[in-house]
Amino acid sequence: MKILVAVKRVVDYNVKVRVRADGSGVETADVKMSMNPFDEIALEEAVRLKEAGTATEILAVSIGPAAAQETLRTALARGADRAVLVESDLPAEPLGVAKVLAALVRKEAPGLVILGKQAIDDDSNQTGQMLAALLGWPQATFASKVVIDGAVARVTREIDGGLETLEVNLPAIITADLRLNEPRYITLPNIMKAKKKPLDQHKPEDFGVDLTPRLRTLRVEAPAQRSGGVLVKDVAELVTKLKTEAKVI
């Protein structure tokens, strides 16, 4: 079975993001970028399925700027066998990305697609669902455990009330949640091998997809600064403040 994993280049999770002065978005120039952490988990799951003999090939795909090649090299070092970059400098909106992925899925015919449940830059949490809809495939989102059993996947997902286990027919779309696995450290030999693995480049036009944004960002602003707390002397004062100042009760 071939597994397709989508990876996105995002602002590194250690970076304290700053809003651009003109309010058009967050500052990404000169900022450290890396692979979306949920995508690392998705990829790790694919690698484990390959190590277990369930999968035979892992294809990593990224839709983004030329620099996303670095992210794909990391994916290759993490264990993907080959990579495809669909190069575009336009903002990667979920529907556009899902359309490109759908076209790639039709071409590559994977038995399973694993994505991160969301990217930590825009937190959309839509691409996997949209991809499933476009393909007419079953979806199992927020996976915390994946078991492949012949033609079905049993996926445990974290929901408000506890754990829910779904069974979906393959091929299917799975999106990875935080606790699905813990990605391992990349080894030096795998970094060296990644240089020699194939990385193909395409444009969205190659798949007949137009990535022109359909969403309009009105303004981006930083959350209000937290103001200092106060000590109240008793419950009565607390209740009064909640009513009159915070106006939450």
Binding site: A29, D30, E70, R73, T74, A77, Y185, I186, T187, L188, P189, N190, I191, M192, A194, K195
Partner: protein, 597 residues
């Protein structure tokens, strides 16, 4: 406690823009290496260092290595971390490909070394010593020895040690007494070795000791010492482990620092004698050791740099966090973090500027080693070998002496909080303190610099380097940018001091070697201060070009330029004082007879 974060941006700057990684990568034999690969390697090494090695640094210091009835235990977590280190393939980074190494340039492996040492010096010593053993066997061992030991040492499955020191033979190895008696195809080794780093531990099933010893009838002194391989377990013909060899750890030292690293007293031949295999020819042992010594010395210089970087990171985090007093320029207002106080800034910049200068100079030196080993042109190889040889004692001596000062400043920034152990700042000073001592004290380095590296070759390489520095001085003098003008104003007299002191050394060495030796350590420090300033001046010129060209990462280059100016104005003026000490002070060193102290 905040974990160590690898200084990836400055490492990239040092190896790419100052030490010219692309030039090194273009040398024959480095087909794989380029800036992109180096970045991927440094990044992943950084993650491993932050996630695995750094969290063990402080608990490892507190617990320390333990010795009980011949068994040495490293602190909790160290052995597991070592297994992960091996699984990651990291021990093979710089080793030759024919025995399973990755064959990457020293320029990349030294940068990775800085990361391991910054995260956890006590841990990093084990692979560092193994690398030294690998170099010894790869260069001087026979084919069978190489086939038997190298693959497992390079993979990290086994580790290696260096057994040189004996109680009466420290800096002076000519006093080595350990004996090796021939017996068939091997020798029986008897004797006691001290200060053996990772001589015994719980990481791996076998430890390969490289041991200096004398054969029967060997000449006295340095020309009668041979080198032997003495494995903890003998190795069967099929590569499996055989009999336990007659070598044991009898105790470990209680030390000021590097607590997690077991420093062992090793006893060879309490019974029938430890089975040892001669490396190369008899009586050439010390010469073999010297071929590896330079690299080991650079490694220790990098250890100094690495601890200094970590001390800086810790002090910076504290200075941003600790709120004390008001801004001295404002009459009122809120209390501020201490980073707003001018003297704290001065201390932080003193740390930062010197750390960056050390990183720059050591990167340039290891790039010279790559050229010395791989450049196709014989003349170029000779030239670069000279540069590497001259800079080695400078980097070993200067980076380690400064690391002690920088770690001490780190404590100073913490105030009383730094003097208590819980903040972790004290550990860096205790750990740093060994670095100016082992692999040759600063005094030994300085004598090597003055004698072998400058005087004996009549200043050939020294003058070549001074010429390069003069070219940078001219480039600075032509600049109109205010920062560059300021740097030029300090660099010129500092360089003049190094030129004058070098001429003094060359003139006096033949006539009065004791006077030259009396000024040797100040001369080494002068080299560090000025050569570090040379690299910071180059960094300033490069940064200025980036800023003029409107390139990206403007904040990084602005910071670099400001840091270089601080170095010029706060560190370089030391050069003139050092010149006076060197050229005028030797008589007073020697005027007081030994018995009058």
């Amino acid at each position: 406690m905040a974990e160590y974060v690898a200084p990836l941006r400055d490492l990239r700057f040092a190896i790419n823009e100052l030490a010219d990684l692309s030039g090194v990568a273009a040398l024959p034999g480095f087909g794989e290496a380029n800036a992109e690969l180096a970045e991927a390697i440094l990044e992943e090494a950084g993650k491993f260092a932050t996630g695995v090695l750094s969290p063990l640094n402080w608990p490892g210091d507190q617990a320390g290595a333990r010795f009980d009835a011949g068994v040495v235990s490293t602190p909790a977590g160290f052995s597991t971390a070592y297994q992960q280190f091996v699984e990651g393939g990291w021990p093979a980074l710089g080793a030759e490909p024919e025995h399973g190494g990755q064959g990457l340039p020293h320029l990349i492996s030294a940068a990775v070394s800085e990361i391991w040492n910054g995260a956890n010096l006590s841990f990093a010593l084990c692979p560092m010593l193994t690398t030294a053993a690998v170099n010894a066997i790869a260069r001087h061992g026979n084919e069978q020895q190489q086939a038997c030991y190298l693959p497992k040492l390079i993979s990290g499955e086994w580790t290696g040690t260096m057994n040189l020191t004996e109680p009466q033979a420290g800096s002076d190895l000519s006093a080595v007494r350990a004996r090796a008696v021939p017996e068939g195809d091997h020798f029986r080794v008897h004797g006691t070795k001290i200060f053996i780093t990772y001589g015994e531990h719980d990481f791996v099933p076998n430890i390969v000791h490289l041991v200096l010893a004398r054969t029967p009838g060997a000449p006295e002194g340095v020309k009668g010492i041979s080198l032997f391989i003495v494995p903890k377990f003998l190795v069967n013909a099929d590569g499996s482990l055989g009999e336990r060899n007659d070598v044991r750890c009898v105790s470990i030292e209680h030390k000021l620092g590097i607590h997690a690293s077991p420093t062992c007293v090793m006893s060879f031949g309490d019974g029938a004698g430890a089975v040892g295999y001669l490396v190369g020819e008899e009586n050439r042992g010390l010469a073999y050791m010297f071929t590896m010594m330079n690299l080991a010395r650079i490694e220790v210089g990098v250890e100094g740099l690495a601890i200094a970087e970590r001390a800086y990171q810790r002090a910076l985090a504290f200075a941003r966090d600790r709120v004390q007093g008001r801004d001295i320029g404002a009459r009122q207002g809120d209390r501020v973090a201490i980073i707003h106080h001018p003297d704290v800034r001065r201390m932080l910049l003193t740390m930062k500027a010197q750390v960056e200068a050390m990183r720059a100079l050591s990167s340039v030196a290891v790039a010279a080693l790559d050229h010395a080993q791989h450049n196709p042109d014989t003349e170029q190889r000779q030239y670069y070998q000279g540069v590497f040889d001259l800079l080695t004692p400078v980097i070993k001596g200067w980076c380690t002496e400064q690391s002690v000062e920088i770690a001490s400043l780190g404590i100073q920034i913490h105030g009383g909080m730094g003097f208590v152990e819980e903040t972790g700042a004290a550990q860096y000073l205790r750990d740093a303190r060994i670095t100016p001592i082992y692999e040759g004290t600063t005094g030994i380095q300085a004598n090597d610099l003055v004698g072998r590296k400058v005087a004996l070759e009549k200043g050939l390489t020294a003058r070549q380097l001074l010429t390069q520095m003069a070219a940078v001085e001219r480039e600075l003098a032509a600049a109109s940018d205010a920062d560059l003008v300021a740097i030029a104003g300090e660099f010129a007299p500092a360089l003049a001091s190094l030129v004058a002191a070098t001429e003094w050394v060359l003139a006096i060495y033949g006539a009065d070697v004791r006077a030259a030796s009396a000024g040797a350590v100040p001369y080494l420090k002068l080299w560090g201060v000025v050569a570090g300033g040379w690299q910071m001046a180059r960094a300033a010129l490069i940064s200025h070009r980036h800023l003029e060209g409107g390139g990206v990462e403007r904040d990084f280059y602005r910071t670099k330029l400001a840091t270089a100016r601080f170095y010029a104005e706060h560190i370089l003026p030391q050069a003139q004082a050092l010149e006076r000490v060197i050229c005028k002070g030797s008589a007073s060193v020697l005027s007081l007879a030994a018995e009058r102290f």
